[in-house]
């Protein structure tokens, strides 16, 4: 087998066009930036016949230029994705094969966007997202990785080779290298080359998305549960409770994050069981949250409340016990048949929740301080509603806008934190395909072989960027109300 080139025969036509368009776009953007300062602002001029004409001048020309070159580049990129699907294996080079591997993701993305855009007026804030270009780009990037993680994790589709198996002779080999005959794998090439242990980089990167997509949102949800359950009463009641909780939150926030990780995520600390106790403490908050949430709503109808509360708390309690119960740690009392799963990276999960929770607490507290003076709160108090009902059913829904935006940003931040942990090799095994660990593996030989570290870095960047853009789009759209 021959090694694959980057774009194969497709590139001989498309590459020069793309280069020209990129150069034009750069020129147009620079021109637009410079003209933006000096050129007179666009003015409207009324003609004698009663019509209005906008004088655009050179600035307008530059803007039109940017628009059309950008559209042109977009078309070329779509061509890079679409055309290889009908070309034979290898003809479209590495880029073509990669886009072919991602075919299920493209189909899901197109389906999702089509459905969402058709029904966007009926979908509330989510639908409004499709009015903002930035929001759509962000959502697209995020959903790309979500679908990738789904297809890799559940159906074992996109990855081409086993992410742990090593093939001799492919150590640190560049992108497009053919694998020797008889090696297990879906295609006879390493699309993005081999890493320093001769494993397929492409497969490791897509496999790493499963880790991030599974852990980051979940950890953020837990941090929000903790932050909301503590922040609401702190802001609502104020006084000593608020002083104490704020002090503790500031205490945790004053810790440099990396120092905290180095102190918490070591085998010695795991041995003492502190992470297990922290998990037992932090993960009880979802139970409290849902318990109080449902109880405050239905406590006037005891029969209905019991009917709802018992199954909800039962299931959550079972989940809670199986999460904190780990074989070989201090909390190990459940019989094996009751223990649903063992999370090997509990310490990573706990420390990420622990770092995020105080910031969420501060945000929720600030919002509550603001919202508790509103009329609807006074109305609820006059009706005789309980304090928790007001907090959870009156204040919390009205604070949802900023909280949703922060939730997106915080998933991105959690992704960065997980990457940091991987980068320092804390709490994760060196075999782990997560992006931080892969970057860490790749950076050791970075000056000699640059290709192993770049794909995971790009993947992490695109996911975090997507989340940030998504948050920006959501903020913009929610402000329009």
């Amino acid at each position: 087998m021959e090694a694959l080139t980057w774009t194969g025969s497709l590139g001989t036509i498309l590459n020069p066009v793309l280069m020209i368009l990129l150069a034009l776009l750069a020129v147009a953007i620079v021109a637009q930036m410079i003209l933006g300062f000096f050129a007179p602002a666009q003015t409207l001029q009324s003609n004698p016949d009663g019509t209005i004409a906008a004088t655009t001048g050179p600035l307008g020309l530059a803007e039109t230029g940017v628009k059309y070159t950008f559209l042109g580049i977009l078309l070329i990129v779509i061509a890079y994705i679409v055309v290889p699907q009908i070309m034979p294996y290898g003809a479209a080079g590495i880029v073509g094969e990669i886009t072919k591997r991602f075919l299920p993701v493209w189909i899901s993305l197109i389906a999702l966007f089509a459905v969402s855009i058709i029904y966007k007026r009926k979908l509330g804030l989510y639908g409004k997202l499709f009015d903002s270009t930035v929001g759509m780009i962000g959502f697209g990037l995020v959903m790309f990785w979500v679908f990738t993680a789904l297809f890799v994790g559940l159906f074992d589709m996109i990855a081409t080779h086993d992410y742990l198996s090593q093939v001799s002779g492919l150590k640190n080999k560049g992108p497009g290298i053919p694998v020797p005959e008889g090696t297990a794998g879906l295609i006879p090439h390493y699309l993005l080359g081999g890493d320093n242990l001769a494993r397929d980089i492409f497969s490791r990167v897509v496999q790493g998305s499963v880790f991030v997509i599974a852990i980051a949102p979940l950890a953020t949800i837990f941090a929000f549960m903790v932050g909301i359950t503590l922040g609401l009463p702190a802001g609502f009641y104020g006084g000593k409770l608020d002083t104490f909780l704020s002090f503790v939150a500031n205490l945790i926030l004053a810790f440099p994050v990396i120092l905290l990780f180095y102190l918490l995520v070591t085998p010695e600390i795991v041995e003492t069981g502190i992470p297990s106790y922290m998990a037992a403490f932090l993960f009880v908050f979802p139970l409290i949250f849902f318990g109080v949430l449902l109880n405050s709503r239905y406590y006037t109808q005891p029969a209905k409340r019991t009917a709802i509360l018992v199954p909800v708390l039962g299931i959550l309690g079972w989940l809670y016990l199986s999460v904190i119960n780990q074989k070989g740690t201090v909390i190990d009392f459940l019989p094996a048949w009751l223990d649903l799963f063992d999370i090997s990276i509990l310490v990573v999960f706990v420390s990420v929740v622990f770092v995020n929770a105080p910031t969420v607490f501060r945000i929720v507290r600030g919002l509550t301080l603001d919202l508790r003076t509103r009329d609807y709160v006074a109305a609820a108090q006059t009706r005789g509603e309980g304090a928790w009902y007001i907090m959870l059913w009156e204040i919390l829904p009205n604070a949802r806008g900023p909280l949703i935006v922060d939730f997106c940003l915080r998933i991105g931040y959690t992704t960065i934190l997980l990457g940091t942990l991987g980068f320092f090799g804390l709490g994760l095994s060196s075999e782990s395909p997560d992006w931080g660990s892969t970057i860490n593996e790749g950076r050791k030989l970075l000056l000699i072989f640059a290709h192993p570290a770049l794909p995971p870095a790009g993947a992490l960047l695109s996911l975090v960027l997507g989340l940030n853009l998504l948050a920006d789009g959501l903020r913009e759209e929610s402000l329009k109300d």
Partner: protein
């Protein structure tokens, strides 16, 4: 004002005590001490030998007492060991126990001895802080003006093309953690992969002699991550100021736009970014650790990694104190500075 500062100082002192106690407790947990005994004494010690080794050196005292001794508010231990030797916390190597001072802790300037670097913790921290100070100085020189210019330009005309493109730039820079941008910069600008080998991929040489070639990449890597955030805050503050009544008045009076921005808007728009810049220090510390590891620049962050990775308890404690101190002091400065800069609060 005086009362405000005093109260802030009190809270800060309490926070510092709590934080150092937590770090002290975490580093002095039993498994850490056992590891210390085995690395310092003998790797194949029996459990009893470990206990007596720790007993002889005062590690098995109650935690508050150890903390008090380390802080320098309780007299250092003098223990007659099971091996017949008398050891005192405050006695230096070879010094007779009787001559040792009563108190020796952080407050007396005695920071302990590093087991990894075989040197006094105080001197290690001081030299490494100097190196990191140099890095931070250049980071600030790049980051603060860059961020302020981007923020002011973007916030000057809200919703304009300039605003949108600069806001996108700042979003991209906040979404790029240091270990990603560092790796990308090194592989693009320090290797031959892309044919742009303009800079050095390590900053080890910059410790003695910092040049543009070996120092630019680490500086820009740290600066970029913080820049976007400060720029966004500046933009928000600038847009708010530009919609204020007095700006409209100035416009209606016919003051030219550059003059409005420079003379009227800028001063009020820079109050909020000041606090943000100050509060960036804890984040910068993060960046410093990552970048110093990545570029092999042996400063404060690198020492933190070495101390934590090698169970060097006293060095880790020293490093923690300094970082906690930096964080708290910047918080204090940001609080006081905000009050001081804001005429509405200052005058009332």
């Amino acid at each position: 004002m005086g009362l405000f500062i005093l109260r802030r100082l009190g809270v800060m002192l309490l926070t510092a005590l709590c934080l150092t106690f937590i770090v002290f407790w975490l580093t002095n947990l039993a498994p850490n001490l056992e590891k210390l005994a085995k690395t310092q004494g003998n790797a194949r010690m029996s459990d009893e030998a470990v206990v007596s080794w720790l007993d002889n050196r005062g590690y098995n005292q109650a935690l508050p007492i150890k903390y008090g001794q380390w802080l320098g508010v309780l007299p250092g231990y003098i223990i007659e060991g099971t091996d017949g030797q008398v050891r005192a916390r405050c006695a230096a190597q070879g010094q007779p126990v009787e001559d040792a001072a009563t108190f020796c802790g952080i407050l007396q300037g005695d920071w302990g001895y590093s087991t990894v670097f075989k040197d006094e913790v105080g001197t290690i921290v001081a030299t490494r802080l100097g190196l990191t100070g140099k890095l931070m100085f250049w980071v600030m020189m790049v980051m603060v003006p860059g961020a302020l210019i981007i923020g002011v330009l973007a916030g000057m005309r809200e919703g304009s093309r300039t605003d949108r493109s600069l806001s996108t730039v700042s979003i991209v820079s906040t979404a790029t953690p240091e270990y990603v941008s560092g790796v990308v910069f090194i592989s693009v600008f320090a290797t031959a992969t892309f044919g742009m080998q303009w800079f050095k991929g390590t900053a080890t040489g910059a410790m003695e002699d910092a040049t543009f070639e070996n120092f630019f990449l680490p500086v820009i890597t740290i600066a970029l991550y913080g820049m976007g955030y400060i720029a966004r805050m500046t933009r928000a503050s600038m847009t708010e100021v530009m919609t204020a009544q007095y700006i409209r008045t100035a416009r209606l009076k016919g003051v030219s736009f550059p003059k409005i921005v420079l003379k009227h808007a800028l001063r009020n728009a820079l109050i909020a970014p000041f606090t943000v810049i100050m509060l960036q220090f804890p984040w910068l510390l993060n960046g410093v650790v990552i970048v110093e590891t990545l570029f092999n620049y042996k400063g404060f962050g690198w020492v933190l990694v070495q101390a934590a990775g090698n169970n060097d308890i006293e060095l880790l404690l020293g490093v923690s104190i300094v970082s906690v101190f930096v964080v708290l002091v910047t918080q204090l400065i940001s609080d006081i500075g905000y009050v001081f800069l804001n005429p509405r609060i200052r005058i009332s």
